[in-house]
């Protein structure tokens, strides 16, 4: 089914924004964060205006309404990701979700000499927690390299690395290259080796239907804000087997069963990991985002994004001096197109694109090992989502061509 992009755009008030320099905003920084539809903004406002209260604590009407909304959002989000509410732990985002696996599972279940397999493609959020754990417990961390020609993972190297691994942590889709990894194969190979699998789906979830039960991973980390939800909320999806192996990460109120001056006992399941006042408005907002997204087929969203990313990548290649990092034409690639100009420094290029109203990301994208593998300090990145149009990318190419002519 073809998406009605104009109708979709009408749901996002920010997209009609005129910037201070008089230019129409063209938002191509979706891999950093997506914009929010009006229904998400409205649901969060409705909570604050009508039933703002703490959840899971009191018996008054507002508290009941807040608790019900928080838990209904959990049901809706869990359903969207093909799992049950009891397998969904709210976190602040994918970063906290990965740290939760590190602190709440790995520290209780891994020991000195165990092996964790990462890839060169990982975001720092999926590297630094494991480096810290490695220092603390004497765990070996292995990195699967990328092939610099195809920008894909070296699966032969993965096969060797996973052989005696205890845990495999891999990104579903690279935030820099837009490359979607062969996660089904990675999960299968990891299982065959007896390794547990953590998928970082921060970039994957906005681009394809993630089904936790179908994939069979042990852990999946997701951020809401890249898929139309608010910032400050995300989740860790955990299999029932693994959640039973987990121990407390952060401690305090709500996660306890009983506290005495002699010590404490803890709740079971997701409650053990959701201490303190929950992110109630954010969870409700994410629930609204998931409901909004559910009206579409994620395959249609992927196809739309892939079409404009692929076209943009091909057109950019025609501009003298531009080099693309990744392969936007790959049918599995998401909407991230990383590029550099041979003489215009990336930060300068981002400034100059901003003069035309184009919001792109610049920097190492929290993926310095990948930058090292690519042999560059940073890239520019245009990343597209459901509301971006062919007209926008055409005007982008026109502006980029002009910038390259004038400033190189």
């Amino acid at each position: 089914m073809t998406l009605d992009i104009n109708a979709i755009r009408a749901d996002f008030p920010i997209l009609s924004r005129i910037l201070p320099n008089g230019k129409q905003l063209v938002y191509f920084d979706n891999a950093a964060t997506s914009q929010k539809p009006q229904c998400v903004i409205d649901e969060m406002t409705r909570y604050y205006e009508n039933y703002n209260s703490n959840a899971h604590r009191a018996n008054h009407t507002l508290a009941d309404e807040a608790t019900t909304a928080l838990e209904n959002a959990r049901k809706e989000i869990a359903l969207f990701f093909g799992t049950k509410p009891e397998n969904l732990i709210y976190t602040s985002g994918a970063t906290e979700a990965i740290n939760l696996v590190s602190y709440g599972w790995a520290r209780y279940n891994l020991k000195e000499g165990d092996v964790i397999v990462l890839t060169e493609m990982e975001h720092h959020a999926d590297i630094v927690p494991w480096q810290e754990l490695s220092k603390e417990k004497g765990i070996e961390v292995r990195y699967v390299p990328i092939d610099n020609e195809t920008y894909t993972l070296d699966m032969d190297a993965f096969e060797v690395a996973v052989e005696d691994a205890s845990l495999v942590c891999v990104t579903h889709t690279s935030n820099v290259l837009g490359i979607r990894n062969p996660i089904e194969q990675i999960i299968q190979m990891s299982k065959n080796s007896g390794a547990r699998v953590l998928l970082d789906c921060a970039q994957g979830a906005p681009h394809e239907k993630i089904s936790f039960s179908d994939l069979g991973a042990d852990f999946i980390a997701i951020s809401a804000h890249k898929m139309a939800g608010p910032t400050g909320i995300g989740c860790l999806l955990v299999s029932s087997e693994r959640i039973d192996e987990m121990g407390p990460f952060m401690t305090g109120g709500s996660m306890i069963r009983k506290v005495t001056t002699d010590g404490s006992t803890f709740q079971k399941g997701h409650a053990m990991f959701e201490t303190g006042t929950p992110r109630i408005a954010e969870a409700i907002g994410w629930g609204a985002a998931v409901e909004w997204l559910s009206q579409f087929n994620m395959k249609d969203i992927h196809d739309h994004i892939h079409k404009i990313a692929s076209w943009t990548g091909e057109e950019m290649k025609k501009i003298p001096g531009i080099k693309i990092y990744g392969d936007p034409t790959n049918k599995n690639s998401s909407g991230a197109v990383s590029f550099l100009h041979e003489t215009i420094q990336s930060q300068d290029l981002a400034f100059l694109l901003d003069q035309g109203g184009f919001a792109v990301r610049t920097g190492h994208h929290c993926a310095q090992p990948l930058m090292d593998a690519l042999g560059v300090p940073s890239t520019n990145r245009a990343s597209f989502w459901i509301y971006n149009t062919q007209e926008e990318v055409e005007s982008f190419i026109e502006h980029l061509t002009d910038v390259c002519k004038r400033f190189s």
Binding site: Q345, Q347, P377, F407
Partner: protein, 143 residues
Amino acid sequence: MEDASWPSHLSPIIEEFKDCFDSMERYELLFEYAKKHPSPLPLDEWNEENQVLGCQSRAHVKCSLDENGFFLLRAGADAQIVQGLMSITAMAVNGMLPIEVARLTPKYVEEMGLKSSLTPSRANGFLNMFNRVISEAEVLSEG
């Protein structure tokens, strides 16, 4: 200084930027100024001590007094926009007393129509370098 914000010899440069047709023309002019740095810091002198930290570009600043006790700003950046702004800043502050430099504000950048270079989100670029110059000028004026 005729104004507390910038020295008088900077005014013709500011006027040059004000005469630009649009922001793209202003940035073209800024790229030209990046090539005219009166006291660039060569690459082989870029080190951790003089690096201004930031994640998007490399920038280095070295402030000292010349043989007559006047301020000398040497700077280098891989981003031409930052280098251009530092070039103009060097044109402004070189030859001034450190105490005068310490009183400088980046208002001249705003006046040139390049206000976006001063927003906190760009702090890893020019604004951090400017703040470094001011704090080094404060130290040099005390010495």
